[in-house]
Amino acid sequence: MIRVGVDVGGTFTDVVLERTRAAGEDQQIVVHKVPSTPHDQSEGVVKGVVEICQMAGIAPGEIDMVFHGTTVATNMVIERKGAEVGMITTRGFRDILHMARHKRPHNFSLQFDVPWQSKPLVKRRNRLPVTERIMPPDGRVEVPLDTDEVKAAAELFAKRGLDAVIVGFLFAFLNDEHEQKAKEIVEAAMPDAYVCCSSEIVNVIREYERFSTCAMNAYIGPMTARYMRQLEGRLREAGVRAVVRIMQSNGGISTVENAIQRPVGLLLSGPAGGVIGGRWTGEHAGTQNVITIDIGGTSADISVIQDGELRIKNPRDTEVASLPVLVPMIDIDAIGAGGGSIAYLDPGGAFRVGPRSAGADPGPACYGKGGDEPTVTDAQVVLGRLDPEQFLGGDLAIDPALSERAIATHIAGPMGLSVTDAALGILRIINNNMALAINNNSVAKGIDPRNFSLMGFGGAGPLHGTALAELISARDVISPLQPGITAAMGLLVTDLQYEYTHSVLLVLNQAGEAEFEALNAAMDELRAQADAQLEADGIPPGARRFRKVAECRYLGQGFELRADMPEGPLGKDNVQEVIKSFFDAHQQVYGHAFEDQLTEAVTLRLIATAEVDMLRLPDLAQGGRTDPEDAVLYVRDTVFDDGEARPTPRYRRDRLLAGDRVTGPALIVQHNSTTLLPPGYAAEVLGHGDMRVAKQG
């Protein structure tokens, strides 16, 4: 079996190839980086795949599966380069997408932008109301759908040459009859258009969020489909005959067909792989609780893995480019802090680092590409934590004198500090910003970091690991085997995953036989949909896994939390299990639970997964040494957080063996990353080459 993972980032496309043979035989893992090709990501992808085949000595045709994490859909939204979309909606409610939740994005601003008005997914001219009315709370039809109006609207859209059309009616989550009928009419009038309706993309209550999700799906639908087809075509041309699977925002993989139908599920396809890779590394390191921080050039992505499970964002918080998207997403917080973050003094004299970034171009001052403002990377260079000859294995030439000059001119001089103290200050502020963001994603959500390992990855992650762990009081630090390509590795350790939802709005404590019957029938229907999808993917029934969730709130609240449901049908005898699960969630998130309040189920969710083969890393040879001399490259001064410069050995990571122990101060260097070990810390090399870093004693 040969499997390839390809993760497309802003600068580089990372590729991992794994080849497993019959039992007992050698396994082969090859990693590779090629420049990304933003104009058409598939170019870089195919180039990377072809080159890695050459490196591995195999023919492209021998690859069995390709796993792909892509930012194509996300970029389309951020750059607003999606389709021209039409919308058919209920008369009287033409502007739900224009008004949103009527809250402005800034409190203390008069000049703010309103993205859903200035850059709408569907322009008002293309939102056409038709006569129809479905009534709550039972979904009865008060006014039948005027099919002539729908037909006229579709014909007008056809004349306007629109690429995609959505149908979004009020209360469609109670009764989708009108939406389906309208969709049929549009499809008949516009056979080539991408058409979807709100209740089939996400069948939940709250009109703005449902319409917005549907609009987003249609906005990115036609071009995502084109990209997927292009990718498949290019791979074929290159001789790759493998099955292609796509990473989704929920941390599961999906087929190309499913990705084309529901591209809205791909908006976190890029960063998801890193989190999965973090979970997998945690398992290797024997920990189920990991806080991951993927530190790139301009931003850092933070996520929390608890008890070996990814945390999924509350659906009330899932948005992309300020627009709500009600699809399950891994809870990943992005903050504007990375190696390229710029340090400066603001007009009031405050010392700031980021979110402004030098990016990859001009990049940090030490790149010598015209950036003269100091960045976080420059601070690392000045402090002797990043050696010029180790920077991307020496592939990228940097000049420490430029770092020093930038810090001296912009920070140290004006503040009357030494360059070293200024550089330490830059790191302290950026680490603190990251630590606050980690706290927002952990402590603020009822998670106690003292039971968690911190895993920093991305090229710069292992440089910040110990400082961040100290700030948030994490138990220890994990430096994964390949910090620079963790996301691509994550693609090879992901399950197939689909989610299906249905609105219920049922007070569980008061439900009678009939209500339970209807709820169970709805869940059976979701299960049937999931089975049909997995069947189509060729997953045998025995390999399918299902998790049933009820999203609940106390009757009268507005925010739901996930509660687990029992395996069998729900009834009076076991409904307390769901209520208890909700109480526990409420206690964890808010620190309070109210035993005397009624619990209302709002949304049923079925999560269907199927395990696919997992990447297996080979075992390292046993070393068991302490500070192995033959791994030391050279010794050079490094400044640690106490401001003192100490002679610090540089170890080659690829010379370390399992069970080896390295004591700080030390730097452990590899092609795509450097791991910093301050005095008092020690790193232990684990069986597959990951390292656990902890305070000694």
Binding site: I96, N107, F108, S109, R160, Q557, G591
Partner: protein
């Protein structure tokens, strides 16, 4: 003298304070029950020192930001500073003792560290019903005793012990006890979180260093605002407008006069010349609301978070450079026992008139006339079970045109920034159904190089008999245009029954305790914003966009913008006739 905290530690402590306030606000709105808190986020939360200085505040509704020190000063009249014990929890809402207005109930807990009182963790939230004369909201009432429960520095918990009698009194005196209970629990959870996190911060960095850091952070914020004020030429800047009426004496306009005195790096807002206090609830508590509006205006104008890159800590420092004067006995500084609950429309106008007064000297930061109002609707009724339902709805309006962009349409402007309620959620839980919620296209927004925002129209239909109170204004005084821009549109309110849709009654903006029948529809049309700059300078392509999007008509494009459109058969219908437009605009010349 405590040693100056180094700039790096200062950033660290400042970031931590900001995060605490955000978490407090988050817990409060996520846990709460009533839609006015959980959806609309009509709340504020933060930490305060022993002298009632704001150390940090959640970034929630601007109306609440800056109001809590007033509550704390009010409470101090009942509970002296040495009257606090660990485990106390005080409830307070007295409009003449610092409260923003009586429905905004504060929960305050002391923060002790190593046995010493360091400060307070506190929050405010708007409660749906506190047992006032009419359900939810009031307008035409005799005095403050009709506002409902007034709680003046009472301990809900004393040294950790629950005051059961007080809790019972509260639940017995609201129409919606379960909502009030859940919301108070959420407020307490939020305040407890603030106490805990503040103590952790003190333990981590040491008391002296934290206190010193908070002082420096306040000084920093103050200096940032003063820098900006200093850039405005010294002088007295004045603007005037008027309110429709007080909700009882129909047709009697109430004048508003705002004088902004800029002196160096400080500023005074003087409201002398504004209306005397009125006999209804349409008055403004001075400390908790009039002050706060003026603080907001300068922060939004001069430290606009969209145009300023740096995050500036939200603390007491932003209040210090701004002095507010309103004569005692005026609508902005009433004398008890006159009621002062319905105060929002008036303070919106203070902010807008400050902008108007300063527009000539800071055109690049100003806006044209904003809707600067509120539509606050209290829908209510009694269910067959005998339980009340009360729903407070905030309807948005629009902003005026701006120096480089159009005024946002259908948005929460100035002092408010709530979220609307999903219509589907309402429909599932209340005997109300929405018949229309759209951009208002019966009138054009104010024409300008950058046009005003279009307002909203929302029509709610009663399915069962009920009551209604509506707090609004601006049916008479339209948002102004600036620098050649045209004025926007006034609001209106229509009531009819679905059975007789042609029998439309036009209603004043404010009315109280109206009884409604099944099928009664209340349709609110908000004002639209004024235009900024000469409409003849507007990009013809944008004018065409507005026509295609139905914000304006072809005739309006021609009359006000001088843009000539030709019919075309491309599915959209119109295109710009560039030559004819140029000729027409040239012919009219610049005004």
């Amino acid at each position: 003298m405590t040693r100056e905290v180094d700039p790096i530690t200062l950033q660290v402590i400042g970031g931590a304070l900001h995060a605490i306030a955000e978490q407090m606000g988050n817990v409060l709105y996520r846990m709460s029950y009533s839609s006015i808190i959980r959806e609309s986020q009509d709340l504020g939360a933060g930490l305060f020192d022993k002298d009632f200085n704001t150390l940090c505040e959640s970034d929630s509704t601007p109306m609440h930001i800056g109001s809590l020190p007033g509550y704390l000063r009010g409470i101090a009249r009942t509970i002296p500073i040495d009257g606090w014990q660990p485990g106390d929890c005080v409830i307070h809402n007295h409009p003449y003792a610092g409260a923003s207005h009586s429905p905004d109930i504060a929960i305050v807990m002391p923060v002790f560290f190593e046995g010493e009182l360091i400060g307070f963790s506190a929050n405010t939230a708007h409660h749906v019903d506190i047992g006032a004369a009419t359900p939810g909201l009031i307008i035409d009432v005799p005095d403050m005793y009709a506002e409902g429960m007034l709680m003046d520095g009472l301990k809900l918990f004393e040294a950790g012990k629950r005051n059961e009698a007080l809790w019972k009194f509260i639940f017995d005196n609201t129409r919606v006890p379960s909502l009030v209970k859940g919301d108070l629990e959420a407020q307490i959870a939020s305040a407890e979180l603030g106490v805990r996190r503040f103590q952790e911060l003190l333990a981590t960095y040491g008391k002296d260093q934290v206190i010193q850091a908070t002082r420096q952070l306040m000084d920093y914020t103050e200096s940032m605002l003063r820098r900006e004020i200093a850039k405005i030429p010294d002088g007295d800047y004045t603007a005037e407008g008027f309110l429709d009426d007080d909700g009882r004496n129909r047709g009697k306009h109430l004048p508003i006069k705002v004088t902004v005195r800029v002196r160096g790096d400080g500023v005074e807002v003087d409201l002398t010349g504004s209306s005397d206090q009125v006999p209804t609830a349409f008055n403004v508590p001075f400390e908790g609301s009039t002050n706060v509006a003026c603080f907001f205006a300068f922060r939004a104008l001069l430290l606009d978070t969209y145009t300023h890159e740096e995050h500036i800590p939200q603390n007491e420092g932003s209040f210090r450079p701004v002095k507010v004067t309103a004569p005692l006995g005026s609508i902005y500084n009433p004398i008890a026992p006159v009621a002062a609950e319905a105060r929002f429309c008036q303070i919106q106008r203070v902010v807008d008139l400050i902008i108007k007064a300063l527009a000539p000297v800071i055109p690049e930061k100003a806006t044209a006339g904003n809707a600067a109002t509120l539509s606050f609707a209290a829908f209510s009724g009694v269910r067959p079970s005998g339980d009340y339902w009360v729903f407070l709805e905030v309807n948005e309006a629009a902003m005026g045109g701006r120096p480089t962009s159009d005024g946002p349409d259908t948005v929460e402007e100035l002092m408010r920034n709530t979220r609307n309620n999903p219509l589907e959620d309402l429909g599932m839980h209340l005997p109300l159904i929405c018949d229309r919620y759209e951009v208002r296209d019966d009138v054009a927004p104010g024409a300008g190089k950058f046009r005003g925002g279009a307002g909203v129209v929302k029509a709610q239909r009663y399915l069962t008999p009920g009551f209604m109170t509506h707090e609004s204004d601006r049916h008479d005084d339209a948002p102004w245009g600036v620098f050649g821009g045209k004025e926007g549109a006034v609001g209106k309110l229509e009531i009819y029954n679905v059975a007789r849709p042609d029998e439309i009654a036009s209603e004043p903006a404010k009315f109280s305790g109206r009884r409604t029948q099944p099928g009664d529809v209340v349709a609110y049309f908000s004002p639209s914003g004024g235009g900024y700059g000469d409409p003849l300078e507007r990009d013809p392509a944008k004018v065409l966009d507005d026509v295609l999007d139905g914000f304006i008509t072809v005739q309006h494009a021609l009359d006000d913008y001088g843009v000539v459109l030709d019919e075309v058969d491309d599915g959209y219908g119109w295109q710009v006739n560039a030559g004819a437009t140029e000729a027409r605009r040239a012919g009219r010349g610049a005004p």
